[in-house]
Amino acid sequence: MKIALLSESPADEAALRVLVEYVLREPFTQVAPALRARGWPSVEQVLPSVLRHLHFNTDADGLVVVVDSDDSVVHTAEHEAPGYFHPGCRICRLRGVFRRTIKNLPRAHGRDRVLRAVGLCVPAIEAWLLCGRDTSITESAWVEGQASGRPPYSRRELKWRVYGTERPTLSHEMKRAVQEVSRHRGDLRRLENDFPQGFGSLARDLRGWRTALQAGGAPRSTS
């Protein structure tokens, strides 16, 4: 499979490469050059152009987009209802951009569209990196903290726990990211259990790709 990754930093991308391969259970070819966005909301702003570029100028099968939730609304099962859209949820918003952008694109490179996989790190990738090491770090803990106005941990604390400093170098971040995600050794049950929406959505999108590709060209997205 030929896959493009759009994330907020080279460290996020390094972790994603491992995770995507674990979900797909096979190596993939990353479409070059590496795409990068400058964090939210720039991801949302550049996504239409990135999708058009991938559709017309490359033979990419799909695009993986992963962003941090920061303090935004976390995607829930209710958001999955047909026609539902939460304007404060980054997964809903990114899916909306995918939907609007690919709706009117003509076929190119033998396919209707570039497939979509969207993930949300709640509240940041470091939470995923700590999954399995610290059972108190979960999507539900974060969501409950948002509701009560007492977040269980801050992004700075998560950084401390993963990197041993609030100001890690990029190379240290990349090294730690790959170390931690590789710890799952291909078994993503824990990550899907603890991060059922942010990581779960990404995994479900990716698992749907094989069926979509086997059907010969991707079906239109319904969500």
Binding site: S9, R36, R38, G39, W40, P41, S42, D70, D71, S72, R155, R156, K159, T165, E166, R167, T169, L170, S171
Partner: protein
């Protein structure tokens, strides 16, 4: 470390106060006081080499003359240094010191003085860096980094491990290069060479891009085993690709926030006009200083002092927020 500075009638800084962190990134238009602040620090360094006046002797000076007060981090918080004018000159040329009495106070002032003499300011000049440097000019990096080749050649001879770290960092950031080397040009000068990954060829400094040379100068400082105590770098983003600005930030943090047990922190004062560099400080707004200009008066404001900052950052990058003008630090129109 300098923890706070108060300005009175110093150029455009009529009445401005500033709290300083280990790392500080200044943003703002021309004439907003960024360079004046760095000039004040350099003045402080040169006057620290001369004899100081006891603070009480300043009392008779003209009451509204230019004056800058400096405060220091514990255990030196009781030492206060004032740069002031003793005549009608508009230039501050007197250094007054207030410190606790006795040998303890003298010792504290001696330590502050030592720190002040370690202040360095850099504005890199790639034309000067492209020319081979005098080998003997290797004691420390010059303010325009013209002697970069000599400094690095000397470091390789004296501290090959530190030089190897620097070279490894350089090649990781710019993978088109596989190593650094030096060549004697025969007249007591040394030239810097960067080995190309493909082809085995080496490029001389004069063939390296502006951004590559600046990055090397920043790495030279960041990997210095014995760096100066306070470093000012103007236009820190200059010539560097936006995607590589993270590496510039990392290099500064390497100076200001060394790993425990590594060496003493270096206080860093950097200026930039790059919204992309600013974006990288979303999680540390306390490290950003907005320099504002209203009419002829300039003031400083810490980004973290903005009460509505978190709300503002929810849906906008810091760099974009800055550009809109709602943070301040933009030119008048």
């Amino acid at each position: 470390m300098i923890t706070a500075v108060q300005f009175r009638n110093f150029k455009a800084l009529r009445s401005a106060a500033l709290r300083l962190e280990p790392f500080n990134l200044f943003i703002g238009p021309s004439g907003s006081g960024k360079t004046s602040f760095i000039q004040a620090l350099l003045k402080l360094r040169s006057l620290a080499g001369l004899s100081a006046t006891p603070a009480k002797e300043l009392e008779g000076q003209k009451p509204q003359g230019p004056q800058i007060d400096f405060h220091f981090a514990p255990p030196l918080e009781q030492v206060r240094v004032t740069l002031a004018c003793t005549s009608d000159d508009l230039v501050c040329n007197a250094l007054a010191v207030d410190h606790p009495p006795g040998a303890v106070g003298e010792g504290q002032w001696a330590e502050v003085r030592q720190q002040l003499r370690g202040i360095r300011a850099f504005l890199f000049d790639h034309y000067a860096m492209a020319v081979p440097a005098k080998r003997s000019d290797s004691a420390e990096l010059a303010s325009n980094a013209a002697n970069l080749a000599a400094v690095l050649a000397e470091r390789r001879a004296r501290d090959p491990e530190a030089m190897a770290h620097l070279a490894a960092g350089f090649c990781r950031i710019l993978p088109e290069f596989s190593g650094l080397d030096f060549r004697d040009t025969g007249d007591g000068r040394v030239e810097l060479l960067a080995q190309l990954t493909d082809g085995g060829e080496a490029l001389a400094a004069e063939d390296l891009s502006q951004g590559t040379l600046y990055l090397l100068a920043i790495l030279c400082l960041a990997h210095d085993p014995h760096p100066p105590g306070l470093i000012c770098i103007e236009e820190a983003d200059r010539g560097v690709h936006p995607r590589l600005l993270r590496e510039v930030r990392d290099a500064f943090y390497r100076l200001s926030h060394p790993l425990p047990g590594d060496r003493a922190p270096v206080q860093v004062i950097a200026t930039t006009h790059s919204p992309y560099l600013l974006d990288l400080f979303r999680e540390h707004p306390e490290e950003i200083v907005m320099a504002n200009k209203q009419g002829n008066a300039a003031t400083f404001e810490r980004l973290s002092d903005r009460a509505d900052l978190l709300e503002l950052m929810k849906d906008t990058n810091l760099g974009d927020l800055w550009y809109t003008g709602i943070l301040g630090g933009v030119p008048g129109e």
